[in-house]
Amino acid sequence: MIINEFLQDLTKIPNMQAIAVYGVNNNLLDSWTVYDSHLQKLNEISLHYFQIFSILHAKGKNFKEVLISHDNGQIYALILPDLLFIILTKLPTDISLIRLIINVSVSEILSSRNVQKLLKKTREKHLNFFDKKYLDESEKELLKKIGI
């Protein structure tokens, strides 16, 4: 709903592969993928991103953006006060265009009544990605080592 209504231009960027929009409590609000088969991959990557952000947050380092190369593409995450975007693209893609489209759309997204309802509905459900069910043994060990 959010992507179709407010972020259509993101889906028109050449080489765009997948977009996920999350609310403040790490709940998925909307997603879009070129191929349905990418949805699972998007969810897995998003989980890893949340874990990275949670570690950075726990260590007092609050990043607003992260860009990582991945196979023949890149994964870009943008954290705003009320929303988090995780975007997968093939190369080449202009990150400044992605950032611009999100910047010009975000106030409209947040003032939409439907989005406000959706945010309210998911507000009480906070997903903690340090929960053991999301971690394998090596991740648990690593978190112990870095004191989280």
Partner: protein, 160 residues
């Protein structure tokens, strides 16, 4: 199979062909240097400038890399991919509303920093131009206001 490009133009942009590694070919030092510059964003002309290559050298290297299927053409460039000088009048006006009379000077400074000008500005660089200009505005609310006002104008270039 990537398109074989025989006539190399300075406005063209190439990227590495994902299906063939440059390590499979025997490349000279300068050819490796060109390969290392390929990012799907820089033009042939910019790469020639960065590596201080002559026109003949850069054309020969790109032609060879294309014939060996090591690179893929992203865009040919040319006049179709340039922003109309009229756009800069609108952009300058939008900036003047927020920054006052220095707006035009700031715009030209940023264009110069990007090694470009109002008459010869590639469409593909519009998003980064808007971002660099927005940074010049101190107030974050006005930054977004500027981006929102100018986005419909650049949108018609980017998604035509």
């Amino acid at each position: 199979m990537p398109e074989l490009v025989e006539k190399i133009d300075n406005n063209m942009i190439f990227m590495l062909n994902n299906e063939r590694s440059p390590e499979e070919a025997e490349l000279l030092h300068l050819e490796w240097a060109v390969i290392s510059q390929l990012d799907g964003q820089k033009t042939v002309g910019q790469i020639a400038d960065n590596l201080a290559l002559s026109q003949t050298e850069v054309e020969d290297i790109f032609r060879k890399l294309s014939m060996q299927n090591l690179i893929t053409l992203v865009t040919r460039g040319g006049e179709d991919s340039l922003v109309s000088p009229e756009f800069f009048k609108i952009l300058s006006h939008e900036m003047t509303l927020l920054l006052g009379p220095v707006a035009s000077i700031i715009l030209d400074d940023v264009l110069e920093m990007m090694h470009s000008n109002r008459e010869n500005f590639p469409i593909r660089n519009l998003p980064i131009l808007i971002e660099l200009l927005a940074i010049q505005i101190d107030d974050p609310v006005k930054q977004i206001e500027f981006q929102r006002n100018i986005y419909p104008r650049i949108r018609k270039y980017l998604f035509k």
